[in-house]
């Protein structure tokens, strides 16, 4: 034993002091963003920052305008010049020329060449992503142009080249193995630090081909909780907040310091049914379920906007696809019960329908990646109950839907489907309503007519020619209901009034940092 007196008090003081330090000392990177003369524009969004791989996180870099694609998108959602000033297609519809914009430089100063662009595209094609679904034969470079040769005509090529997985990066971005180790793009902002999972720091790229952006420094913060995002806006910590919970909207609108914009993106929350299951193989059952839904109620209460009730697949904003005058999907419990009765379902003792001993009971699967889905599911559950359909809600992982689509164990799924991955909705339609259905679309449902319609659309470029086909498609889906539209979506962007030039992009392709500037609050 140590009998020698030790200076215990001193040791203790030391410890306490240390503790104090811990409390007060600023955490790592304290100085960041505070010492700068001009405030960094803070953009807050729900999407976490993943790695650098364009296939998984390209969207982050297009939204923040760090990297750009050959083809852009205009206000109407049609393909527009991007890094390519224009394109031509040979009469055979196979060979495409994309003329590169001249004088474009990467953030590391190196010039953009056709070769580099072609290389990026080849990588994108080899990787997971939409481009790998395009019937491409070769991608090569000619002087000042990227040449894409197809196996068969495919009019959507430009739209596919607007997808964020096809961003053009400087050769220095890749390490020999082909892994992206830094993002060197051509956009108006360069990524100074990419700190997964929550932050990206941006700096203005002085010699962007589009001119010098007004705001010098910006940063993106990923904030998962909708409530927190709203508070970030209210507290003035954030300059621009993307995607606000419907509940918070009214409050934010009342706030004089904030400007709220809402747009309707081409996104629909829909019920994906297994048309192969005995429950839903009969179209009458699908229609009955659709008739049981109080879409307006759902939209009013949960989305705080009655107009979002989806009475057909596409919202009005999607021109050419939203079919005017299509008989809307409405609520009619009597009609629903009638249809179910015709389909042979009789109410059992507990009010749940039965047919030769089998209850009309199914599992409604959804996931929490979109915060509105679980509440919607709970409401749908209650409404289905009223016509005698017993749904058990299971909230799981996003992957459950495609996985169970594959092994056929899905009866019913509530999903949020975006038709903007490829700016042209057809891109998604091809994926979802082809002959053997799609991971997020039809399941065990196919219609020869739909298939042929899609095939014909795939080679047509002229909107006027496409319009009737698209309308026909909408009619079939409305009648057959391989998927039941529930609500459309609304994207709310809130900006502090000290920032001017904020524009909400329905396609969620870009936050439009380059157009923003500091205004007078």
């Amino acid at each position: 034993m140590l009998f020698v007196p030790r200076p215990r008090r001193a040791v203790l003081r030391g410890l306490i002091g240390l503790a104090g330090l811990l409390a007060l000392a600023p955490a790592a990177g304290a100085a960041e963003g505070r010492s700068a003369p001009e405030r960094a524009l803070t953009v807050v969004g729900p999407w976490e920052v993943g790695g650098l791989d364009p296939a998984s996180n390209g969207h982050a870099f297009t939204r923040l305008q760090v990297a750009e694609t050959l083809v852009g998108v205009d206000a109407a959602g049609a393909p527009a010049p991007g890094l390519a000033t224009g394109w031509t297609v040979a009469p055979d519809g196979l060979t495409w020329h994309f003329l590169l914009r001249s004088g474009v430089r990467f953030h590391d100063g190196s010039p953009l060449t056709a070769g580099i662009a072609a290389e990026s595209l080849r990588r994108a094609r080899a990787n997971v992503g939409p481009l790998s679904r395009v019937p491409i034969a070769t991608i090569s470079a000619e002087d000042g142009a990227v040449v894409v040769v197809l196996q068969r005509p495919f009019a959507l090529l430009p739209a596919f080249l607007a997808n964020h997985t096809t961003i053009i990066l400087a050769p220095a971005s890749y390490e020999p193995s082909g892994r992206v180790v830094r993002i060197i793009g051509t956009g108006p902002y360069c990524a100074v630090t990419v700190a997964p999972p929550l932050r990206i720091e941006l700096e203005r790229f002085e010699d962007w081909w589009g001119g010098r952006p007004a705001i010098a420094r910006a940063r993106y913060l990923a904030v998962g909780q909708g409530e927190t995002r709203a508070l970030m806006a209210e507290s003035g910590e954030a300059d621009v907040v993307v995607s606000i919970l419907p509940v918070s909207l009214a409050r934010l609108r009342r706030n004089p310091k904030l400007a709220v914009q809402t747009v309707t993106p081409p996104r629909t929350r829909l019920l994906k049914l297994n048309a192969g299951s005995p429950l839903f193989s009969d179209p009458r059952a699908r229609r009955a379920l659709s008739l049981a839904l109080d879409r307006t109620g759902l939209a009013k209460v949960l989305l705080r906007n009655p107009g979002l009730g989806a009475d057909q697949l596409f919202p009005p904003a999607v021109s050419g696809w939203h079919a005017e005058g299509l008989p809307p999907l409405t609520r009619d419990l009597a009609q629903a019960r009638l249809l179910l009765a015709q389909a042979g379902w009789r109410p059992g003792t507990d009010g749940i329908l039965e047919r030769d001993g089998r209850r009309f009971a199914a599992t409604l699967r959804t996931y929490s990646a979109w915060p509105e889905l679980p509440p919607l599911a709970a409401a749908i559950q209650a409404q289905a109950r009223e016509v005698g359909i017993d749904l058990a809600v299971s909230i799981g992982n996003t992957s459950d839907i495609p996985a169970r689509h594959r092994d056929g164990s899905l009866d019913l799924g509530l999903v949020s489907r975006s038709f903007a991955m490829i700016p042209d909705p057809l891109g998604t339609m091809l994926q979802d309503f082809g002959l053997d259905g799609g991971d997020w679309g039809a399941m065990n449902w196919s219609s020869a007519e739909t298939a042929s319609l899609l095939d014909r659309l795939a080679v047509l470029a002229d909107p006027a020619e496409r319009e009737p086909l698209q309308r026909r498609l909408a009619e079939i889906l409305q009648a057959e209901l391989p998927v039941i539209p529930v609500t459309w979506a609304e994207l709310a962007v809130v900006a502090n009034r000290r920032v001017a030039g904020v524009r909400a992009d329905p396609l969620e392709r870009s936050y439009g940092l380059a157009e923003m500037r500091w205004g007078t609050p």
Partner: protein
């Protein structure tokens, strides 16, 4: 002393083995196709397709026999590697490092705050055990204890960010962003530690030696500081040793509410995404941190109470 260190060392080793094996086994036997889960986490809900999942399966060789995978993990662990994340492909150690830092800052500051709040409160209520103030403190503690952390956090945001506009509601980088989350955690901790402190103080106050210190003629302050605090601190510290785990892992909600990067966040994310190496890595780090922390607690207690060192 050496025995103590040795014991903790053995514990650390055991933890490493158990954590590694258990996480691996559990994550393996979980229902749901790992390839799909990983793909979902990589490409997001909109871009996830079966085709993507298949690509993932090929790339990661998820269909390889599991003993091979487990053994490789342990093998790499022995050399100090934690493997690569299945989702991002980055080394687990790097991913954790970027989140461990903030987590530690958060935990440490929360711990200190909770002491600054809990101890004085416990002290006064302990000295006046049974008084109105004591009862009030109890009710306060219970209230804090009954309030889910995210509700508490929200309230704090509303007060400090919206009403007073003192602190940012979320983000990270400087102490300002850290203040609210650590306060949220600290209050939850202080709720209980204040009661522990209160009981400890009350107990010490009832001892003969404490009263004799008074009769010696020491001023009350000296009595408290010289004979009260040290003796009362021992149970409090031991308790905090247990609670610190809660700090490291219980923070998940707080982290997501305040958009603060942390290891709890990493763990949940990894489990959901079936990112086995990340799960193992995160769990391992947490486990070892716990061991380390308890070592600290043991040493501190011995420092305060020499009887413990004497093997009594």
């Amino acid at each position: 002393m050496t025995r103590l260190l040795l014991g903790r060392l053995v514990q650390a080793a055991l933890v490493a083995l158990v954590v590694g094996g258990l996480c691996f086994a559990l994550v393996r036997v979980l229902p749901g196709d790992a390839a799909f889960r990983i793909a979902a986490d990589r490409y997001g809900p909109d871009a996830l397709t079966a085709q993507a999942a298949e690509a993932v399966r090929q790339e990661l060789g998820l269909d390889r026999p599991w003993p091979e995978l487990l053994l490789r993990w342990f093998g790499e662990l022995a050399q100090g590697h934690l493997g690569n994340s299945l989702v991002s492909g980055e080394p687990v150690s790097e991913e954790l490092a970027s989140q461990l830092g903030p987590s530690l800052w958060l935990a440490a500051s929360a711990l200190v705050l909770s002491l600054l709040i809990g101890l004085p409160l416990g002290l006064v209520s302990g000295l006046r055990a049974g008084s109105g103030l004591d009862r009030l403190a109890l009710i306060g503690a219970v209230a804090l204890r009954a309030l889910p952390p995210f509700v508490l956090g929200l309230v704090l945001m509303l007060v400090f960010s919206i009403r007073l506009e003192w602190l940012p509601p979320a983000g990270y980088g400087t102490w300002r962003e850290m203040a609210l989350p650590s306060l949220t955690l600290a209050l939850g901790l202080a709720a209980v530690s204040s009661r522990v402190a209160r009981d400890a103080v009350a107990a010490v106050g009832a001892t003969t030696y404490y009263r004799f210190a008074r009769l010696k003629g020491l001023p009350e302050r000296a009595v408290l500081v010289r004979h009260g605090l040290r003796n009362a601190a021992i149970p409090v510290i031991t308790y905090l040793g247990l609670q610190a785990v809660y700090l490291i892992e219980g923070v998940v909600v707080v982290e997501s509410l305040f958009a603060y990067p942390g290891i709890g966040h990493a763990l949940v994310h990894a489990v959901i995404a079936r990112d086995v190496p990340m799960v193992q890595g995160a769990a391992l780090v947490m486990g070892l941190m716990f061991v380390l922390l308890n070592l600290g607690v043991d040493l501190l207690c011995r420092l305060l109470d020499p009887r413990l060192g004497a093997g009594r």
